[in-house]
Amino acid sequence: MDIRLSGVSHFYQQTEVLRDISLEIPSGRIVCIVGPSGCGKSTLLRLIGGLERPSAGEIHQLGTPPTDCLNPLTYIFQDFALLPWRTVRGNVSLVLEDHGIRGKAAAEIIDDVLARTKLSDFAEALPKQLSGGMKQRVAIARALAVNPAVMLMDEPLSALDSQTRELLMDDLIALWSRTPFTAVYVTHNLAEAVRLGHSIVVMSRRPGQIREIVHLDTPLQQRGLGNAEMDEKQKYLWQLMRDEARAADAELIDV
């Protein structure tokens, strides 16, 4: 299932947040969105997932999601959004219950996704007992449980320390290599973008517009640390973003 945005603009009251965004998200690819903070990345993601309606323009799904897909557009949030009163297992089960999946069928799915995210030993733990990295892995397990056609990730690693972030990026790459998923990955971290993105959308400061789309052809598995091409792309992206970031920063001071 592909996603197509055509001429999407968005306003909050008088404030123009997004202007004329047209973008194609091809199936089985990871599209990263980078841009200075406040440029409307999270807003764009909420629009794509149908949590908000765009003021103008249209967002289409092309094709139907596979039949075993319970929730085609599935989010992974920066703050994990786990229910603190449910165990790891309970948090995953939450998103299955409404589809009438209980008992043995649910247990099978839960065990499978927990194994894929290396959480099998923590099924009965409460979120407060887990580290940040593990919490985000629970959120990833929960997302995998509904077999999403498209994953919408809003700075999923930004709340984590840099070592954990590296490990989780490896995990995401391993997950993608096993079964390629479609993802929109919002981040302000350029290193994450060049590690995970098949294409990187660079946005301007508010009102957010697409400045440039950078494509990366190196397969995800070969993008380890110290890859020269990655460094070069990252430098190039930083050049694109630096002036925007500085201007956005100055604007915030003016307000």
Partner: protein, 269 residues
């Protein structure tokens, strides 16, 4: 810092942290109680405190024993407890339901919030005569007074608690296509539970106060009637027995809520 400081002098770094984090100290509360009672006993025995000021704690205990062995204690207590149970559970359950609706629906909020704000400061005791006319002098008016008294604080606590539920969790529920009812049941209610329970603590204390007030009007049995009778006869021993029973009732209820909190809110950090 300065170059001239004496390198040979050595101090331990002074400790400046600590405090501001009360921890459980078992038995201290009980000790304070016992100390106060012991002091009163000493004062009344020596005559420093006259019998008109305070009764002897030992006499109060004796009176309590008599009340217990005569079987009257249970008679008073059972009527009071059933009034409390019916009134408070009625008020609290309706209060929670209305509070959740105020928290969830814009129109209910717009319509009922001013009403609740208007009802909240009314001393419910003042309405007792009115309730007697509406619901009769028997149990009806007593249930109504207690229910009404617990209702308003429960509503206020509940809608505040619902307002404070993490919107991110609700958005997560929506993003996974959970039904409206699932979101309320599995996200909003558990998320509001800490606030609802601490509201319930206050509501139950108010319920006990109103119980006594209600029983002071046209009740034959009940702790309130017992206290009223003792007061009009200036029987200090029995008055204090009644007051002590109310205190114990309050402490017990509060302990019950504490237990429920520990069970239901184990997930809290």
């Amino acid at each position: 810092m300065s170059e001239l400081s004496n390198q040979n002098e050595m101090h331990q770094v002074p400790f400046r942290g600590g405090g501001f984090a009360p921890t459980a100290r078992r038995g201290v509360g009980l000790a304070v109680f016992l100390l106060l009672i012991a002091l009163t006993e000493l004062g009344t025995q020596t005559g420093f405190i006259t019998p008109l000021t305070l009764p002897k704690p030992s006499d109060v205990l004796k009176t309590f024993g008599e009340l217990y062995s005569s079987g009257l204690l249970w008679q008073h207590l059972s009527v009071s407890l059933s009034r409390l149970l019916v009134g408070a559970s009625l008020g609290a359950s309706v209060g929670i339901a209305v509070g959740v609706m105020i928290g969830l629906f814009s129109y209910v909020r717009a319509g009922l919030l001013p009403l609740v704000a208007a009802l909240f400061p009314i001393p419910k005791i003042a309405l007792l005569p009115l309730f007697v006319i509406w619901f009769g002098i028997d149990e009806g008016s007593k249930y109504a007074l207690i229910a009404f008294g617990t209702f308003t604080p429960t509503v206020v606590a509940t809608y505040g608690a619902v307002d404070n539920v993490d919107r991110g969790l609700i958005r997560m529920g929506q993003s996974f296509n959970l039904s409206w009812w699932s979101i309320v049941r599995k996200i909003v209610l558990p998320g509001a539970m800490p606030g609802i329970l601490s509201g319930l603590r206050i509501s139950l204390a108010i319920a006990i106060i109103l119980l006594v007030a209600a029983e002071m009007l046209g009740a034959e049995y009940g702790i309130g009637a017992y206290i009223l009778e003792a007061g009009s006869l200036y029987d200090l021993e029995r008055l204090f027995v009644g007051v002590a029973i109310l205190s114990i009732l309050g402490v017990t209820l509060s302990a019950c809520i504490g237990m429920i909190e520990r069970r239901l809110l184990r997930w809290r950090v």
